[in-house]
Amino acid sequence: MKLVVTAEERDLVASLRDLFTTHCPPELVRSLRAPGADPFPEKLWASLVAAEVLALPFAEDVGGAGGTLDDLAAAYAEAGRALCPTIVLSTLHLGLAVDALGTDEQRGRVLPALCRGELRGAVALASPYDAADVRPALRAERMADGTVSVSGRLDHVLDADLAHRVLATAALRTYGEPDRLVGLLIDPRADGVALTALPTSDGDRLQQVDLDLVSVPADDVLAGPGGAGLSLERVRRAALLVRALQCVDMVGGAGAVLDRTVAHTRGREQFGRPIASFQAAQHLVADIHIAVQGARLAARSAVFWHGRGRPALRETAIAVLHAATAYRRATLDGHQLHGGMGYVVETDLHLWSERARLLGSLGGGPDVAGRWLEEANGRG
């Protein structure tokens, strides 16, 4: 146990911060959500592919950069700081899930394309209200030609409109056999798929996906060893890893808000002195600091234990309880400290506030995480 940032991680963080500062400024984030704008960040995507961010956690034999989940956490913190468009992270989530749940053939087909930036992804592995609830929302049947026909509705799927494939789970029915849990790589532009944007104030990233007898090729069915189906436990692990990484994203964002807010209070004068010099302002800042530092340790601990093969339900629950609360606190108290100056959209503070709200809720916020903790403690 040694909770200090290594020199190696400091170097990684510095290069990632440079990358995001250059290629993902707030103006880009704002422009992507403007009405009528293309919501896909073409140039940023190319830079991230060139810097091997999309390849970071995957093994070299599938075109990856061979990094660890801890390296990926460093990248998520910087992505969160810079409000990196979620399609980048959704794509990584698809890669991580295929890496964990797919066959070698599927990994070897999907991951190289993803690492090269040619495949964009999204995932619907769990309830959008509760990332630990991985009962499948879709029903599927195996057809005579080996394809799978899938129907049902997925709700609140982040970036489904920008993805080339959405990885969702379904209960696969075979006559005379028990249902099996499978993952399906669904093309959102295939026949029978209807996407409906769910309007939100941050650019309509959430989609309702209706599927009516959508045909999925046999190769794109993740059915576990010997085709016997995936275990709920493995799917849950994959869903909780996503949630843990999102906590690191939240902590990065909260840290950025803290820094911006302090900078504002140091520059803004009232009563003839910087508002940073008022104890009331300093105490709000200190409370954000405390919340962010606690959340940072909790979130990194959760990813660390995922990386060492723990189911990490307990650690992920603690991370959500702290990260979602800290980000909300940082942004709302950040608004308070900015006053009217931060309330107008040209200051961009609201961009972080909306990310705090999105990531704090999607997959379950603190109340849901409280139930995970009870379950992890054997009291569920």
Partner: protein, 396 residues
């Protein structure tokens, strides 16, 4: 960041646990329940001797000072275990006074004071606050005047200290005094070690709401050798703030909080006097889950501070963060306990009818101490803002 105990750390924790399993006897528990820390020459004294025999009072000191040469992480693990078991371990003399003597003391200071501290024979009360100098510690007025030379003269000390905890059990005072009344207030301060049985030292008890005894200490023409001054004259403010950072680090260990939450979770499963089981209420369970998560975070904060100390940094901002978080968490635990127990939670400490012998009733009265003690949380919030985020100081 490595969140996993390595083999050496696990072995160390196991050694500490084995020691506690062997030596935390029912007799020691009974004595602590009856007398707190106040019984002389009893079970606690024997327990302390055993800790001394293990060399654990100087566990993170360098070998040349009679220590074991282990690091802050080892100390942190040990203190956490002792706290979890609810028994006193290395105190402030070991964890904050001695390191300052090592870092800043004269060779003579080190030779004279470190060996008896390591043996558990020298215990210091820390003389910081005065009736007129609390949170604003640097305005302290206890005066020390040198008669003769620094080599063979004497300091003559006059003044009063308050919140002088443990003085009734201590052999010495780690006493902060003003040695230059004309210098700016942070510059004329020194630290002098004063044997507590010297003529002119008077200790008067003060009883706190928690039942805890603290003291006032009066110094009337107390004379000590000039060589009892720690380090250099008029440089004491650095030593005090360094010691206070270490004190916060040691005080904010989450071992006692983990124990409190584990006990509270178990208590919530048992029926109250009205037959209700608090844990059947989802709202209670949600609050307990929050406390559990918070204690886990406090534990990580403690490991982080210890890791930084191991790298040679005195992490002022980190220990301030940790101290605020843990002290306010302790109060939240006591509040949740009272809420879920209802009027049963009022039943007095050590009365048989009280849930868990009134442990949470007492915690409610103990918890305020560490919010204002060892640097009040409001000043520590200033520290976070000013040292951590370069926000300007403009008075308060």
């Amino acid at each position: 960041m490595d969140f996993e105990l390595d083999a050496d750390q696990r072995a160390w924790r196991e050694e500490v646990r084995a020691f506690l399993r062997e030596h935390v006897t029912p007799a020691l528990r009974a004595e602590l329940a009856e007398h707190d820390l106040e019984k002389r020459d009893g079970e606690l004294a024997a327990f302390r001797r055993r800790i001394g025999e293990k060399g654990w009072f100087g566990l993170n000191w360098p070998v040349e000072h009679g220590g074991l040469g282990l690091g802050p992480v080892h100390q942190h693990l040990l203190v956490s275990e002792f706290e979890y078991w609810g028994v006193p371990g290395p105190d402030l003399t070991v964890t904050s006074v001695a390191p300052m003597i090592m870092r800043h003391g004269t060779e003579r200071n080190k030779a004279e004071f470190l060996p008896p501290i390591a043996r558990g024979e020298m215990v210091c009360a820390v003389g910081y606050s005065e009736p007129g100098a609390g949170t604003d510690l640097a305005s302290l007025r206890t005066r020390a005047v040198l008669e003769g030379t620094m080599e063979d003269g004497e300091w003559v000390i006059n003044g009063a200290k308050t919140w002088n905890s443990g003085a009734q059990r201590s052999t010495h005072e780690w006493l902060c005094v003003r040695t230059d009344p004309d210098a700016p207030k942070h510059r004329g301060i020194s630290v002098i070690i004063v044997p507590i049985d010297h003529p002119g030292v008077t200790i008067r008890p003060l009883t706190a709401w928690s039942g805890y005894r603290t003291n006032e200490a009066f110094f009337d023409d107390v004379r000590v050798p000039a060589t009892n001054l720690v380090g250099e004259v008029d440089r004491g403010w650095r030593y005090i703030t360094g010691a206070l950072d270490l004190e916060r680090g040691a005080l904010t260990n989450a071992g006692d909080l983990r124990r409190a939450v584990d006990d509270l979770v178990a208590l919530a499963d048992r029926p109250r006097r009205d037959g209700q089981v608090p844990a059947h209420d989802p709202a209670v369970r949600r609050r307990l889950a929050q406390l559990d998560a918070d204690v886990e975070v406090a534990t990580l904060m403690g490991f982080e501070a210890a890791s930084l100390l191991a790298d040679g940094v005195i992490p002022s901002v980190e220990v301030s963060t940790e101290k605020i978080f843990t002290s306010e968490l302790r109060q939240r635990i006591a509040e949740v306990a009272l809420d879920l127990l209802g009027p049963d939670g009022l039943l007095g400490h050590r009365t048989p009818a009280a849930p868990d012998d009134g442990r949470f009733e007492r915690l409610y009265r103990i918890a305020p101490l560490l919010r204002f003690g060892a640097g009040t949380n409001e000043v520590l919030r200033d520290v976070i803002a000013q040292r951590g985020h370069a926000m300007p100081s403009y008075g308060r």
